[in-house]
Symmetry: C2
Subunit: 255 residues, 2 copies
C-alpha cells in the first residue's frame, strides 16, 4: 500500500517543490520507489528533475480533466527509483475547468489508484493556493507535509490551511492527517529564524520534524541542472538535511 | 488621476508583498500619497504594515463581494502618506464566490474608482495565483510591476502571466501595460543570480528596472515589527534599493 503525501502550503515560495524533489530523491536513495506528482501549473517539480516540457506527451491535466489513465504520463528521472507525473502549461486551465466537473475533488485520487501500489511513496507537489488542484491533492493523500519558511509571514496562513484540511477530512478523506511540519530556509545568522521556529513548535509541538532545512545556495542551484541535491552535491548541508528528513518520514510511518 | 499598479507574479515568495509595502513607503517618503490594496487572502501586506487583523471592521472582501464602499475600509499606517485597504481571512472565500457574481472581473476597479483620485499611487498586492482575485487586480490597474526572484524557477511561469495580462487587456482593460520587471532577492555570492538576471534582461530588455533588490535579512525582519524597511532600518541596503526603485517608478510615469 503506497504512502501518499501531499506537500502543501498556500504561502508562496516556502520550499514545497524543493522538498518534493529532494525528499523524493533521498527516499529513493534509501531504496524506496517514489512517484512525484506535479499539480502546480508552473510545473517547477517537472523542470526541477530535468524533464524538458516540450518532450511531454501526456501530463497530469489529462488525468484530471479527461480522466485519462495515469501510467502513460509517468516519466523516469535521472535518479533511480524516482518517477514523476509531469505538469505542463495546460494545467493552468484545470483550476477553472474542474469547478464544473462531476466528482471534481476525487479526480487525482481515482487516477492515482491505478498505479500508486507500484510505489512505496507518492509525493504530490501542490501549488501556492487552496483551490481545486490543492483539494485534489489532499483528497488523494493519506498525509500532508507542511513546509514552513523560517520567516515572519510563515504563521499567517496556517490557519486557513488547517481549515481546508479539516474540510477535506470531513467530506472526502476521513483518514487524512498531518504527517509533519517542516521548517525550511533556516538562516542561523538571524534571530528571526529562531523566533519563528520556536513559535511554530509552540503551535504544532511534536508534529514539527526534528530536521530543519538550512537556507543553502546549493539547494537553489540544483534545479538549474535538473538534479536533486543528492545528485547535484551529495556532500552539501542541503543533501544531509533531506537525508535526515527521509529517515524521519520513514520512521513516522513506522516502517 | 491616480496611477494604479498591480504587483503580481503567480510564482510564490518572489517579493510581491515586500515590494508593495516598501515601494509604497519609499513613494510616501518622496511626498506622494499612496494607497495599498491587499487582495491576498493571507493578508501579509496588512500585517506587514502593522495592522492587527482583529481590529479590522471593514476589508476588501466586502468591496468585492457586497460592493460595499471602499472608504470605510481604508486604514492609515505608521508611515505618513501610506494608507491600506486591508485583507482578512474572509477573503479566502472570495476566489470561489466571485466566480458566480455579475461583473466579477471589475468589482475592485469599481470599488477603487470612488477613492483612487485622492491618492497619487495605488499599489495592489496580488496573491500567488492567476484566479479571480488577480484578474480583479489587473482589471483595476493601468500598470503591472512584476517581481522576479533571481533564482532558477523565476522564468518558468512568466509566459502564463503575460498570457493572462493579454487576456485582461483584450477583454477588460485596453490600456493595461507592464510598468517593469523587478529583480529581487539578488545574492551576489552566487553565479545563479547573475545568470537569471541576464536571462530576464534578454527576454524583457528595457522593461527590467535598473534597480535590483538585494537579498538582505533586514528586509525579512521589518514586517515582524509591522514596519516598512524605510522605518525599520533607513540606512540599510534594502531601504536604499527601494528608494532607488521609487525614483525609477516616478520617472517611468514621467512625473
Ligand atoms: N533551503 C533552501 N535554501 C535556499 N534556497 C532554497 C531552499 N529551499 C528552496 N529554495 C529556493 O527558494 C525558492 C522557492 O522554493 P520552492 O520553489 O521550492 O518553493 P515553493 O513553495 O514550491 O514555491 P511555490 O509557492 O511557487 O510553489 C526556489 O528558488 C528554491 O530553489
Ligand atoms: N530582498 C529580500 N531579501 C531577503 N528576504 C526577502 C526579500 N524580499 C522578501 N523577502 C522575504 O522573503 C519572503 C517572501 O517574500 P514576500 O512574502 O514578499 O513574497 P510574495 O511574493 O509576496 O509571497 P506570496 O507569493 O506568498 O504572496 C518573506 O519572508 C520576505 O520577508
Ligand atoms: Mg512549488
Ligand atoms: Mg505576498
Amino acid at each position: 500500500m503506497a504512502k501518499v503525501i501531499a506537500i502543501a502550503n498556500q504561502k508562496g515560495g516556502v520550499g514545497k517543490t524543493t522538498t518534493a524533489i529532494n525528499l523524493g530523491a533521498a527516499l529513493a536513495e534509501l531504496g524506496k520507489t517514489v512517484l512525484l506528482v506535479d499539480i502546480d501549473p508552473q510545473g517547477n517539480a517537472t523542470s526541477g528533475v530535468g524533464i524538458e516540457k516540450s518532450t511531454i506527451q501526456h501530463d497530469v491535466y489529462e488525468v484530471l480533466i479527461d480522466e485519462a489513465p495515469i501510467a502513460p504520463a509517468i516519466r523516469h528521472t535521472e535518479r533511480q527509483g524516482l518517477d514523476i507525473v509531469p505538469a505542463t502549461l495546460q494545467l493552468a486551465g484545470a483550476e477553472v475547468e474542474l469547478t464544473t466537473q462531476i466528482a471534481r475533488e476525487t479526480r487525482l485520487k481515482n487516477g492515482l489508484a491505478a498505479v500508486q501500489n507500484q510505489y512505496d511513496y507518492c509525493l504530490i507537489d501542490c501549488p501556492p493556493s487552496l483551490g481545486q488542484l490543492a483539494i485534489n491533492g489532499f483528497t488523494a493523500s493519506d498525509r500532508i507535509l507542511i513546509p514552513v519558511q523560517s520567516e515572519y509571514y510563515a504563521l499567517e496562513g496556517l490557519g486557513q490551511l488547517l481549515q481546508t484540511i479539516d474540510l477535506v477530512r470531513k467530506h472526502f478523506n476521513p483518514d487524512l492527517a498531518i504527517l509533519g511540519v517542516l521548517m525550511t530556509m533556516f538562516d542561523g545568522r538571524t534571530n528571526l529564524a529562531a523566533q519563528v521556529v520556536s513559535e511554530v513548535q509552540q503551535h504544532f509541538s511534536d508534529k514539527v520534524f526534528k530536521t530543519i532545512i538550512p537556507r543553502a545556495t546549493r539547494l537553489a542551484e540544483a534545479p538549474s541542472y535538473g538534479e536533486s541535491i543528492i545528485d547535484y552535491d551529495s556532500s552539501s548541508r542541503g543533501a544531509a538535511a533531506y537525508r535526515d528528513l527521509a529517515k524521519e518520514v520513514v520512521a513516522r510511518y513506522g516502517n
